[in-house]
Amino acid sequence: MQQNTDDALVNEIDGRLDDLFAEDKTPKKADGESSDIKEYPLKDLKAVILSIDWEITDDAMKRLADQVVGLNKLYKDDRIVFIIIQLIGSIGEYIRINKGKSHPDSFKLLNSLFKKLDKVVRTKGLTESEKKKILSVEVNKYKVLKDKLSPRKPVAEKGKQVKPAAKAKAEKADVLPIEAFAEAMDQIRQLIRSEFKALRDELRSGKERK
């Protein structure tokens, strides 16, 4: 008899939960997203970024660097993808050096860069201008992070008692690899210049026609 009462109670709660949480449907894939995942070139990069997010090991960092090298070759003709991969490589290098002491935003940026890379690579019909917008947002985030990391440098320089070797080590650990950043910035500059040039030419030819 008591068992029946318990069952009735559980059944009543079950029904209540059914009413409250009915319709457990899974959302559909975003429009335009390619479902061809068999040849997904970012598979290994994604796996390594997810694993870095959990634990920074030398092995994972090496795998990330290898992935960056491989993808750079694969996308050498796609400037925007190429630059995003370089930024991932740069952040990866910073995390490799600083490991657990890396700025928390660096992991956030690494994930964000991957998400955008994934979007640019997988979304069919994305225009160049849309891609550039995506890149520009990520480059800004990169700059913000770089600015956050830069003020630490003078603090280390102020301490006159810091031994040169230790000082150099501290600086190396605190700043992003400048060369990689400068290279990426140069490429972006060139890209913007060429865009402006094309725009000017277009305007000129328009005027001449009038």
Binding site: L9, L20, L50, W54
Partner: protein
């Protein structure tokens, strides 16, 4: 034991989502909140770090209405999964009535799952509770990643690693897509309430 207020005729049931960091505990609660938040009239409280990691806990309370004259309030919590927040994890487990162990199906997290379930056993022992007696549901999360070619631990292996002794209900799920999120939650609520009723006798 659930918090029972005879004066107010109210029962509070505390369910904790436990598991390794980045396993999807918060995503489970977020899915429930985003999809049913307005229907169950609730607010989700969450405290995160810079890197979007759960620092303290997430909290999602909701009412399921009157049952046998008592107002039943469900409180869903998550614990921070990262190893360094062991003290916080233990604190959140205080007064827990039921647990959802969210395992990460990714192959690279296999050891972390095993370590985390061992931690759960220790944390519960700290409150003189047994992992074998407390209502517990296993959720093997992130099964959707197989679509992207990411290597996953086979369900049989996960069962062997985590459920060979517990022999409890286990669901393959994708918290991100919502697959089996509600099923898991319903199962743990029903198991917990059945246990509370049993204990009250």
């Amino acid at each position: 034991m659930a918090f029972i207020n005879p004066k107010k005729k109210e029962v509070q049931v505390k369910i904790v989502y436990y598991g390794p960091g980045r396993g999807g505990k918060t995503t489970n609660l977020e899915f429930i909140y985003k999809k049913f938040g307005t229907r169950v009239k609730t607010e989700m409280v969450t405290i995160k770090t810079h890197g979007d990691r759960t620092l303290f806990f997430d909290f999602l309370p909701f009412d399921i209405g009157k049952v046998n004259g008592y107002d039943v309030k469900i409180q869903l919590y998550t614990v921070p999964g990262q190893v360094k927040y062991n003290a916080t994890r233990r604190l959140v487990l205080r007064g827990v009535d039921g647990i959802v162990f969210v395992a990460d199906s990714m192959m690279v997290r296999r050891e972390k799952n095993i370590l985390s379930i061992k931690n759960l056993q220790e944390d519960l022992a700290n409150y003189k509770k047994s992992i074998f007696k407390i209502p517990l549901v296993l959720q093997y999360n992130k099964v959707d990643l197989s679509e992207q070619g990411i290597p996953l631990t086979p369900v049989e292996t996960l069962q062997k690693d985590l459920n060979s002794q517990l022999k409890t209900s286990a669901f393959e799920a994708s918290a991100l897509k919502g697959t089996n999120v509600v099923t898991t939650m319903k199962k743990i609520i029903l198991m917990t309430i059945a246990t509370i009723v049993k204990e009250l006798k």
